[in-house]
C-alpha cells in the first residue's frame, strides 16, 4: 500500500463529503417518495441529469448563476408534478410494480430527449467568478465552489427536515408514510400529499444535478451511475430515519473518495460491498427501525 500523508487523506475526505452530500439529496428525495407512495422512482437519476441540463440551459438564457440555481429545482419539481398528476396517478390501483416500471420507462425518454436537444457530447458549466477561487483551509486549498455546494445541500436538507417536522403539511406527509389509509380515513386529500411529495422529491434530484453540473460537467448518461449509488445509500441507511439517510450518504461518498486514493479502480465497486456487508449484518439498514 502506498504511503499517503494525512493532508491528502483529509482533503479526499472533503471531496467525498461533496459527492456524499449530492447522494444525500438524491436519497432523501427517493425515501420521501418511497415512504409516501411506496414507489421507487427509477427516473430519479434521469431527473438529476435533467436538472443539470436545465441548469446549463437557464444559465445560458438568464445569465445569472443564482437565479438559475433557484429556478432549476422549481422546474424539475414541476416536471415531477406533471409526472405524478398525469402518468402516475392512474397506476396507484395497480400492482405495486406498475408505477415503478413507468418511471423506469421515463429514463429512456428523458435521456434521449436531452441527447436530441443538447447533443451527445458533454457540456461544461462555469462556476461564477465569486466561487471560482480556492479557500485556504490551513492544511490545503479547497475549491470554494465545492464548499458552496455542500452548504447549499445542507440548507436544502435542513429545510426539508424543518418542513417535515415543523409544519402541518409536513406532519401529514409523515403520517402518510406511516399509514396512508389512516390519513384518508381522517378526511385528508391524500392525492395532494402524493403530488407534493413527488414534486419535492424530484426537485431535490434537480438541485443535486444543478449543484453537480459545475463539478462534473453535463452528459446524458450522468444519471445512470448516480441512481444505484443513491439506492445503496437508501439501503445502508435504512427505512424511516432522516438523519440515518444523511449519515449513510456521507459514509458512501467518503468511502468512495478515500478508496480511490489507494485503489482508484475499485472506488466505484467498494460501496456495493459495503451494501452487501450491511445486508448481512443489519438487513434493515444501519439506522433502520424495523
Amino acid at each position: 500500500m502506498e504511503h499517503l500523508d494525512a493532508t491528502t487523506v483529509i482533503s479526499q475526505i472533503f471531496t467525498g463529503t461533496v459527492s456524499g452530500m449530492m447522494l444525500v439529496l438524491m436519497a432523501l428525495g427517493l425515501t420521501l417518495i418511497f415512504g409516501v407512495m411506496n414507489v421507487v422512482n427509477f427516473a430519479h437519476g434521469a431527473l438529476y441529469m435533467v436538472g443539470a441540463y436545465f441548469f446549463f440551459f437557464t444559465l445560458q438564457k438568464v445569465g445569472n448563476f443564482w437565479v438559475a440555481l433557484i429556478l432549476v429545482p422549481v422546474l424539475v419539481g414541476s416536471v415531477g408534478l406533471l409526472i405524478e398528476r398525469i402518468l402516475m396517478r392512474p397506476l396507484y390501483v395497480r400492482p405495486e410494480e406498475d408505477p415503478i416500471l413507468m418511471t423506469f420507462g421515463l429514463t429512456y425518454i428523458f435521456m434521449e430527449a436531452m441527447r436530441m436537444y443538447f447533443g451527445k457530447i458533454g457540456l461544461a458549466v462555469d462556476t461564477p467568478a465569486s466561487l471560482s477561487s480556492a479557500v485556504n483551509l490551513g492544511l490545503f486549498y479547497f475549491p470554494s465552489y465545492m464548499i458552496f455546494a455542500v452548504v447549499c445541500a445542507m440548507l436544502a436538507i435542513f429545510g426539508l427536515w424543518m418542513f417535515q417536522e415543523k409544519t402541518d403539511v409536513g406532519l401529514i406527509v409523515r403520517a402518510g408514510s406511516r399509514d396512508s389509509v389512516m390519513v384518508r380515513v381522517l378526511g385528508l386529500d391524500f392525492n395532494r400529499v402524493r403530488l407534493l411529495s413527488f414534486s419535492i422529491g424530484t426537485a431535490l434530484a434537480g438541485l443535486a444535478g444543478a449543484l453537480s453540473a459545475p463539478i462534473r460537467g453535463v452528459i446524458p448518461e450522468m444519471g445512470a451511475p448516480v441512481l444505484p449509488q443513491a439506492f445503496v445509500v437508501v439501503v445502508v441507511g435504512g427505512k424511516g430515519s432522516f438523519w440515518g439517510t444523511v449519515a449513510s450518504g456521507l459514509l458512501v461518498g467518503i468511502v468512495t473518495a478515500v478508496t480511490s486514493l489507494w485503489y482508484p479502480s475499485w472506488a466505484e465497486v467498494v460501496v456495493y460491498f459495503l451494501m452487501a456487508v450491511v445486508l448481512l449484518v443489519r438487513p434493515m439498514g444501519l439506522f433502520g427501525r424495523e
Partner: protein, 323 residues
C-alpha cells in the same frame, strides 16, 4: 388448456425464419425470447421485479466463452457451463437480494447489477474488459456415429436457429410443467399475497429464492446461446441496459401469455432495427411505447390483442382480471 397456444407458438417459431428476411433478427428473437421467458418466470409468476437480470445472462455468456476457449470445444459442456454459472450467481445474489422484500428488492438488484458490471469492466483478464471476450470457437452439434452438424455456417443458415428452437421448446415444456406443479402454485400464491402464504405455512423466502435461481439458470442458458451465436462476449452482456432491455421486452409482450416473451423480443428488436435506420433516438420511441403500454395495456401488446380478439369473437366484455 394451454396446449393449443403452445402448439401455435411453436408453429409460429418454425415459420418465422422463412418469412423474416433477416436471419440475424430471427436468431436474436429466439435468444432474447428465451431470456425474457427466464425474466417472466421471476416477474410474471413470482412477482419479483428485478433490474439486474443481465447479471446471470452475462455470467452465462462469459462462462460458456471460457469453457469453449480453454477447456473443450464441446457444445453441451459449453451450454452446461453457462447454465451452471448463471445458477451459482443467482444463488449468491438471491441470498443477498431477498433479505429485503418488495420495492427494496428492485433497488438491490439494480445495485448488484451495477456492481457486477463494474467488476466485469475492471477484471479485464477474465472478461476482456471493454473489448469483450474475443475469439470464442463455435462448437458443432455431434450426433454420435451419424454426423457432425456445424451450427453457425453460411451454407446452412438455419442450423443455429433450429438448434435453439429445439432448446426453447424443451424449456417451454419444462416451464409449463413447473408452473403447474405445487411449487409453481406456491409461487403464484406468494405473488398474490405473501402474508397469506406465510400464514399457510409456506417458507416464502426459500420458495422465491428457488424461483430466482431457476430464473438465473435459464438466463445463463440464454447467455450461453448468445455466446455461441456471436462467437464473442461483449461487456454489454452485463450492462444495466441489458437488464432494461429484457424487462421492456417482457412488459411489451405481456406477462400472462406464453407467446408474450417472443412478441416482446420481436417488437423490441424489430423496432430497434427499423427505427435506427432513420434516427439515433430510437430509444425515445421505445421508451414512450413502453410507458404507454404500462399505463394503458397492463397485459402487454400480445395480451391486449388476445383480450380484444376474445371479446370480439365472444361478443361479451373481456373479464376483468383480478390484480
Amino acid at each position: 388448456m394451454k396446449l393449443p397456444s403452445l402448439v401455435v407458438l411453436i408453429a409460429l417459431l418454425i415459420v418465422l425464419p422463412f418469412v423474416n428476411p433477416s436471419k440475424t433478427l430471427s436468431n436474436q428473437i429466439l435468444i432474447w425470447g428465451l431470456f425474457a421467458i427466464s425474466y417472466n418466470l421471476l416477474l410474471g409468476y413470482t412477482g419479483l421485479l428485478s433490474f439486474g437480470h443481465a447479471m446471470f445472462f452475462g455470467l452465462g455468456s462469459y462462462a460458456t466463452g471460457h469453457y469453449l476457449i480453454h477447456l473443450d470445444n464441446g457444445l453441451w459442456g459449453g451450454l452446461l457451463a453457462g447454465v451452471l454459472c448463471g445458477t451459482v450467481g443467482a444463488i449468491a445474489i438471491g441470498w443477498f437480494g431477498l433479505r429485503r422484500r418488495g420495492v427494496y428488492f428492485a433497488m438491490l438488484t439494480l445495485a448488484f447489477g451495477q456492481m457486477l458490471y463494474f467488476l466485469g469492466f475492471k477484471l479485464d483478464f477474465i472478461t476482456g474488459g471493454d473489448d469483450g471476450l474475443q475469439g470464442v470457437p463455435t462448437p458443432s452439434l455431434v450426433i454420435p456415429g451419424i454426423k457432425e452438424i456445424s451450427l453457425v455456417s453460411i451454407q446452412h443458415p438455419y442450423n443455429f436457429y433450429f438448434f435453439c428452437l429445439a432448446l426453447v421448446i424443451v424449456v417451454l415444456l419444462a416451464k409449463e410443467l413447473l408452473v403447474r406443479s405445487p411449487f409453481g402454485k406456491g409461487l403464484q400464491a406468494i405473488r398474490e399475497s405473501e402474508e397469506r402464504s406465510l400464514a399457510l405455512g409456506y417458507d416464502t423466502m426459500s420458495v422465491q429464492w428457488l424461483a430466482f435461481v431457476l430464473s438465473g439458470a435459464l438466463a445463463g442458458l440464454a447467455g450461453a446461446m448468445n455466446t455461441l451465436y456471436l462467437g464473442f462476449v461483449p461487456l454489454d452482456s452485463l450492462a444495466l441496459a441489458t437488464s432494461g432491455t429484457v424487462l421492456i421486452m417482457t412488459i411489451l409482450g405481456g406477462k400472462g401469455l406464453l407467446i408474450g416473451p417472443f412478441v416482446g423480443a420481436g417488437l423490441f428488436l424489430g423496432l430497434q432495427d427499423l427505427l435506427s435506420a432513420y434516427t439515433d433516438s430510437w430509444q425515445l420511441v421505445v421508451g414512450a411505447i413502453f410507458v404507454i403500454v404500462v399505463i394503458v395495456l397492463p397485459s402487454g401488446i400480445a395480451g391486449g390483442l388476445s383480450d380484444y380478439a376474445s371479446s370480439f369473437f365472444s361478443r361479451k366484455p373481456a373479464a376483468e382480471k383480478p390484480s
